[in-house]
């Protein structure tokens, strides 16, 4: 079952902040975030594991609340290069762990 992402789309001006949310009805072991630019393959951003941790690099960070089965991706002071579709993927753990993605959030950064 796909995790649910919100919003479906966001349009921002360069320098503005954005939050993308991801929630699941299943117990989660991990949350994965990917970005896909038009015509390209999705690229890994980060993974968060059970423990309610927050991770980040550069101006992109994420949190994972395992009790609420939710994760949020934070983009701070957005740059033009942040444009693309963001997918959250969820894993339930175990050796045979299928990685299930949401429908994606389209992010458009305008100058």
């Amino acid at each position: 079952q796909q995790p649910v992402q919100s919003p479906q789309a966001v349009i921002l001006r360069e320098g503005e902040d954005a939050v993308i949310n991801c929630s699941s009805s299943k117990a989660l072991y991990s949350v994965h975030w990917y970005r896909q630019k038009h015509g390209e393959a999705p690229v890994f951003l980060m993974i968060l594991l059970k423990g309610g941790e927050q991770k980040g690099h550069d101006k992109i960070s994420a949190s994972f609340n395992e009790k609420k089965q939710q994760s949020s991706l934070y983009l701070t002071a957005s740059q033009l290069s942040y444009s693309g579709t963001y997918f959250c993927g969820t894993g339930s753990g175990g050796g045979a762990d299928g990685l299930t993605f949401g429908k994606g959030t389209h992010l458009i950064i305008q100058p």
Binding site: I47, F87, G98, F101, K103
Partner: protein, 110 residues
């Protein structure tokens, strides 16, 4: 660099044909995945494999099968292609935390 290679970028097949989509990875990853990507529906998991000859159904396995005879190769099979299987197909491989995707195969069934 990790490389996940899908055999074709574009493919056109006729309804009822048996179609093979091939994916090869060069990093000795245990886990491999097949997704289809459709506008508004995101990435939907068809099948995945966590070892040679091992496979698990994903969210939308109907109409598809898979084969993994060697660790580096994961094949998606459409037994009898139908027009509703027209889509972008993405293969991915993973060991540990990060999945690497191929460039995708855009399949059109006419």
């Amino acid at each position: 660099d990790v490389k996940v290679t899908q055999s074709s970028r574009y493919l056109v097949k006729r309804t009822g044909e048996k179609v093979f989509l091939e994916c090869v990875q060069d990093m000795d990853h245990e886990n491999m995945f097949w997704y289809r990507q459709d506008p508004g529906l995101g990435l939907r998991l068809i099948y995945f494999s966590y070892d040679v000859k091992m496979k698990e159904k994903g969210d939308i396995p109907e109409g598809y099968s898979v084969s993994r005879e060697k660790k580096e190769r994961f094949s998606l099979i459409l037994e009898s292609a139908s027009t509703n299987q027209t889509s972008m197909y993405l293969c991915a491989s993973k060991r540990g935390t990060e999945a690497f995707f191929g460039q995708g195969t855009r399949l059109t069934v006419v």
